[in-house]
């Protein structure tokens, strides 16, 4: 590990053992339960999972936007360019939001304020963070709008969101997000509300923006097709935990966690047809009432006794491939044992 860190540059973002809990009348909900991952500059990581798995809460925790008072970041570290965002003042945090880390949400209609002009909304992050002088503000806003392919941007600065189509609105949201030149962009299902052909246009644009400005992206989704288009690596989440981290190629070719495997088999895909889906029985657990041991064990076809009592640790099973599953933990031990026998 040490030799690795001396040769490769420090990661842009390092999340260590992040825990965000919700304290409500129905008990303690472990929405994010010990999440760790790293993200390099220019890299895009997908957070894949079903609703309630903690993928959105993970990203809100990074920006310290967890809904209060019920939600609280209980422990962990969010090291962004070496600085722990969970330990800095709220004032400093405001300088990070929008300037260094920006976010795009699912529904552009609720992200944009209907009573402010498009120009004003794209200009806001530039003003707040004092990125450009006032005299050059509108020139910069037009440039940003043309960057996200809004035709004739100068003539549309005074338009309101309702005058734009869904795809254009989401591109405007993209322009506000990248306005202040962030290093990290968190995109939470930005294409869900868009039509398929518009999705394809949007993803292509996002990829171009990423290449041009060496942006890092955390892309939150439940959709495999969009994930494959935008991400280098994937973290699969289930019940508040990352159960597997791997490259996108590995995701489609050699998923190791039974949940990842089942998810891939149960998702209707365009590139192959099956007569019947090998569906996962039951529903994802509620974070307020998690089973002991591995949270997937009650639905897992390969569950063993240990899975129902102890939570599996993350095990490295290949380059850039980590999995939290007792099946692979066992392999690891066996191969170790086999290795030591050989040595003897």
């Amino acid at each position: 590990m040490d030799t690795e860190s001396s040769t490769t540059p420090a990661p842009l973002l390092e999340v260590k053992d992040l825990r965000t809990y919700f304290y409500t009348r129905s008990g303690t909900g472990r929405a994010v339960d010990g999440v760790s991952f790293t993200l390099k500059q220019g890299e895009s990581l997908g957070l894949l999972g079903e609703s309630g798995c903690g993928k959105s809460m993970t990203s809100l925790s990074i920006l310290r936007l967890v809904p209060r008072p019920a939600g609280r970041i209980v422990s962990g570290q969010v090291l962004f360019r070496g600085r722990d965002l969970l330990r800095i003042s709220e004032q400093d945090m405001r300088r990070v939001r929008g300037k260094e880390i920006a976010m795009i949400l699912q529904d552009p209609l609720s992200t944009l304020n209907p009573v402010f002009t498009i120009g004003n909304q794209v200009a806001e992050p530039l003003r707040v963070h004092g990125v450009v002088s006032r005299s050059r503000l509108w020139e910069r806003v037009s440039k940003l709008l043309s960057l996200v392919r809004i035709p004739a941007p100068e003539s549309r600065l005074k338009d309101y969101p309702h005058q734009f189509s869904g795809g254009m609105r989401q591109r405007v949201v993209g322009a506000t997000a990248i306005a202040a030149g962030p290093r990290l962009l968190i995109a939470d299902e930005p294409t869900t509300s868009l039509d398929v052909t518009i999705q394809a246009q949007y993803l292509r644009l996002l990829k171009e923006l990423q290449r041009e400005s060496n942006l890092s992206i955390i892309y939150i989704t439940h959709d495999l097709a969009t994930l494959a288009r935008i991400c280098d690596r994937v973290a699969v989440m289930y019940a508040g935990k990352i159960v597997e981290q791997l490259t996108v190629e590995a995701l489609f070719e050699r998923p190791a966690h039974p949940y990842t495997e089942a998810l891939l088999q149960s998702v209707p895909r365009m590139d192959r047809k099956v007569h019947r889906f090998a569906s996962i029985e039951g529903s994802p657990p509620v974070v307020y009432d998690l089973p002991p041991g591995c949270a997937f064990a009650p639905r897992c076809p390969k569950a063993m006794d240990i899975c129902r009592s102890e939570s599996p640790p993350a095990t490295r099973i290949g380059a850039d491939h980590h999995v939290s599953c007792w099946l692979h933990e066992k392999d690891e031990h066996e191969s170790h044992a086999a290795g030591s026998q050989e040595r003897q």
């Binding site: 895009s44 079903e50 609703s51 189509s165 795809g167 254009m168 039509d195 398929v196 052909t197 518009i198 999705q199 394809a200 246009q201 292509r204 990829k207 439940h222 495999l224 097709a225 994930l227 494959a228 288009r229 935008i230 991400c231 280098d232 996108v248 190629e249 489609f252 089942a262 998810l263 149960s266 998702v267 209707p268 895909r269 365009m270 590139d271 047809k273 099956v274 007569h275 019947r276 889906f277 090998a278 569906s279 996962i280 029985e281 529903s283 994802p284």
Partner: protein, 322 residues
């Protein structure tokens, strides 16, 4: 497959656009559905796919008698829906049912599951209480729910279970055709596949026909026997599902399918991404509705509206290239 159950013949639906509140004049028409023809056989699923505003939901609403066509006609077992009345109409209403996208809003939160599922039986079949109860227990079992759930309220169920309840209600009257309007769009991935499996099982067991309305090509691929692709109110391509997905002909179908494939980042350069957006249906472009976005458009496409022609057995395309 059994003979044709439902047939649409050159069906159109135009909505008037008015201006002003009282003395409002008609300022134009929205061409929601234009000259659409299709048929659904017994035991068959027809997938109607397209993006928002393409007219697929309006078509479904006409099948459900929620809208009247402004042109053409719909026929059920050879009888025109417009000419049906009295007992025929009642029979139609009870054998053609619907399941909508969001079970949260399609199930009344103040009614018990038993009453929700039993309501069409009382309304359409006029069954006595006890027979209703028995039938409710039967259809709940059909959708793999416990008969005891009849006493509970919708909020006590998960999204997948609620969609099963909606499906049970659609089945209750021994329906033969179910309109599925985005039946799995609001469900999580692992639940989605359970419902798709269930829909297939029910079709096999009861010989049901489905009209599947969806924007999700992957879902349509797995459920449909035949697929009709709609764009700007018209069917632009229709084929057997396997043939359509293996070799889409219309440039719009090609773009749709390409956009839904899990292509690796970096490989996207050879993929077909169509530019622009769907035009305003109040002011559709001349000629082929897709020509402003089509990468293969020819001069002719801007003038001539291509007809939906049979280019191979059971394969229709509306494009000048074929």
């Amino acid at each position: 497959m059994s003979p044709t159950l439902l047939e649409a013949r050159n069906v159109s639906k135009r909505f008037p656009v008015t201006k002003g509140l009282i003395l409002g004049g008609n300022v134009g028409w929205i061409h929601a559905v234009e000259d659409v023809s299709f048929h659904i056989d017994g035991g068959e699923t027809l997938g109607l796919v397209g993006e928002s505003g393409c007219g697929k939901s309006t078509t479904a609403r006409m099948v459900l008698l929620l809208e009247r066509p402004t042109g053409g006609e719909m026929l059920y077992e050879g009888v025109s829906l417009q000419e049906m009345s009295g007992a025929d109409l009642q029979r139609y209403r009870s054998t053609v049912q619907a399941v909508f996208q969001d079970p949260q809003s399609s199930l009344n939160p103040r009614m018990r599951v038993g009453d929700i599922v039993g309501e069409p039986l009382e309304v359409n079949a006029g069954l006595p209480r006890r027979a209703v109860r028995e039938r409710v227990a039967e259809v709940l079992k059909d959708v793999n729910l416990d008969a005891a759930f009849a006493q509970l309220y919708p909020h006590e169920f998960s999204g997948g279970q609620r969609q099963r309840i909606a499906l049970a209600r659609a089945l209750a009257t021994h329906s033969r055709l179910i309109v599925l309007d985005e039946p799995v769009a609001s469900l999580d991935a692992s639940i989605r596949s359970q419902i798709i499996n269930l829909l297939k099982d029910l079709q096999d067991q009861h010989g049901l026909s489905y009209l599947l309305i969806t924007h999700d090509l992957a879902v349509s691929r797995h459920l449909s026997h035949r697929v009709a692709v709609m764009y700007l109110g018209r069917i632009v391509e229709e084929a057997k599902a396997d043939a359509l997905y293996a070799e889409p002909l219309h440039p719009y179908t090609k773009a749709l399918i390409a956009a839904a494939l899990p292509i690796r980042a970096g490989q996207e350069s050879d993929e077909m991404v169509v530019a622009g957006e769907v035009p305003n249906p109040m002011d559709p472009p001349s000629g082929c509705g897709f020509h402003p976005r089509c990468p293969l458009a020819m001069p002719r496409c801007t003038e001539d509206e291509p007809a939906l022609r049979e280019v191979a057995p059971e394969r229709r395309v509306a494009c000048h290239l074929f």
